[in-house]
């Protein structure tokens, strides 16, 4: 018995020693980040590419939702957070040291649906979307939907609503938009990363909701553009403030960001934007980083990465269906990054 137990303990010690020595090696820098699922496709691409360019830097990013990103960076259990929802004033008060929002890319929240018989060009107004998610419109052939889709043969199928079950920046952007276009929504549900959804099934992460839509006939849900395109799920054109039905795309998202007055700390909402070609449910997504980096090695690695993201990284955005930052914004962000101090 002692022999076997000794062996197990010995193995455990060996592994501990092995990993301990691994940790002592100076050439491997491990950063941990967590948060938004909205930009996960491009972040995972960035971290993989960056690791190829700098093999000693491993940036581990876990997409647990914007709510998780905000919470964990506040607790300092991760090196950086990620969120599509800018932190609220209240959340900022919980943070013990100055924290900056670094916008990385722009994306679109699209209404993706699973109804093969109606094709890919469904049109919806803001009111329609609010009514569907409030549970007021329950069938696809509801007169209100038919009114904006003349000539379409809408089936008498029940609409299955899909929403997020976790704390989500995508939900925040979506509910922010709905609160702007529907008084009922604003009063009844409001804006937030986690809200009291009046109807539907809950999926975890953009991934989970996309999976739900894909597998459930008659469903509709809100996901990031890239997820819809990569999984070949059709999505709706939404009526914007100027009255046009806009299809979400890299251009229409950039149009939403153009002409928006960016505050000093970049915390802004660009939903329901003015602009003829603007897609009304667009958003910046942010990395959340402490202004004073305590760890010299990690801090420098993080800052270097941010600089890379602002230049090299932006080039990868269109291929994954995200809009790169507008030039003016990009140069402002460069200045913000320069102000991040790394401990000596």
């Amino acid at each position: 018995m002692m022999g076997v137990k000794k062996k197990i303990v010995g193995l455990a010690i060996a592994i501990v020693a092995m990993t301990g020595s691994n940790y002592a090696k100076a050439d491997s820098i491990n950063l941990t980040g967590a948060g938004a699922t909205f930009p996960y496709p491009i972040y995972s691409k960035w971290f993989s590419e960056y690791n190829k360019a700098h093999p000693d830097v491993k940036i581990n990013y876990q997409s647990i939702g914007s709510g998780g990103g905000v919470k964990q960076i506040t607790e300092k259990t991760v090196d950086f957070g990620a969120s599509d929802a800018p932190m609220s004033d209240y959340e900022m008060t919980l943070v013990k040291a100055p924290l900056v929002h670094i916008p990385t890319v722009l994306g679109a929240v699209v209404l993706a649906y699973n109804l093969p018989e109606i094709g890919e060009d469904l049109k919806l107004t803001g009111e329609n979307v609010a009514d569907i998610f409030l549970g007021n419109i329950t069938k696809w052939n509801d007169p209100k939907i038919a009114a904006v889709n003349p000539g379409k043969n809408l089936p008498d199928t029940v609409i299955v609503v899909a929403h997020r079950s976790d704390g989500s920046g995508t939900s925040y952007v979506f509910t922010d938009y709905l609160s702007k276009v529907s008084h009922t929504w604003k009063g009844k549900v409001g804006t937030g990363k986690s809200v009291n959804w009046p109807a539907g099934l809950g999926g975890k992460g953009n991934e989970g909701v996309t999976g739900l839509i894909k597998q459930t006939p008659g469903s509709i849900g809100y996901i990031e553009l890239g997820y819809a395109l990569q999984n070949k799920i059709p999505f709706a054109s939404v009526k914007n403030k100027s009255g046009d039905f806009i299809k979400p795309s890299i251009e229409s998202v950039s149009a939403a960001a153009a002409g928006v007055k960016l505050p000093e700390d970049y915390r802004v909402s660009i939903t329901d934007a003015d602009g003829k070609d603007a897609y009304p449910i667009s958003a910046f997504t942010y990395l959340l980083v402490y202004k004073k980096q305590a760890d010299a090695v990690k801090g420098k690695a993080l800052v270097d990465f941010l600089k890379w993201a602002m230049h090299e990284g932006q080039k990868a955005a269109p291929a994954l269906y995200y809009s790169p930052l507008p030039e003016a914004v990009g140069s402002r962000v460069d200045q913000t990054i320069a102000q991040i101090s790394v401990a000596p």
């Binding site: 709510g67 919470k71 809200v195």
Partner: protein
Amino acid sequence: MKGDRIFEQASRMFAILLVVIVASIGFLLLKESLPAIRKFGWQFPFSSIWDPVAEVFGAWPFLYGTIVSSILALVIALPLSLGIAIFLAELAPPYLKAPVAFLTELLAAIPSVIYGLWGLFFLVPWLRTSVEPFLIKHFGFLPFFKGPPYGIGMLAAGLILAIMILPIISSISREVLQAVPNHQREAALALGATRWEATRMAVLRYGKAGLLGAVFLGLGRALGETMAVTMLIGNRPEVSLSLLAPGHTMASVIANEFAEASGPMHLSALMGVGLALFGTTMVVNAGARFLVWKVSGGRGEVRE
């Protein structure tokens, strides 16, 4: 003698450490959930609103979901488990006993996430395309089968839980039945009873408490199941009579929202849900152990 003292103290230290760890878990849950309990009072377990925006939290949807999914699982699993236990303990020919017992135990070894994976890709589509439309068509007048056939929902969760708790109930039941002294059976048979009658009158009646204990143990497992449930239940804090509707359980809401609960009341409310979960499983398991212990006449071996 010194060596003896050290050895004894070391063992006692580790045993006490176990107690300390478990007590700390309960203590931590209690401490962290106090803010929510103070704010919402006794309403907390019975209020249905779970609204992180308005910072209003009520745990009823999760209690309801846990209870309904577990009871549904029991209703499905109990007859089957009992059947297997009786089969293995009383009626099976020797050449079948070992393989059937072995296979039933294999079910117990499958990890939860794999049940969830299988459920998601096979059980749910089957429910959505065959079972649920059938139920709606023929029994749709009942409040239990109202609503669209999502596939995902209470029924899927209940079914997968049933498969998961079946081996526990059947193996404990089988041990209980086997512990019934032979003279009970023999007496019944001597009086001319058929094998089934002997089983029913003598063995089952004698082992009733133990069988109930086995059911409690299965219930205890169902209450705490997380992964398979969260993948199949729809993750929606809704209280609905319909089995076709999505729901949430105490364990699945924690899995979904714990990593990101940032408002202090949100986290405290989740801790409160955890406390409720901990407390419920404690009560159910304690009841189970007591019942099985009673029947096995002392220390019943009920380890997995």
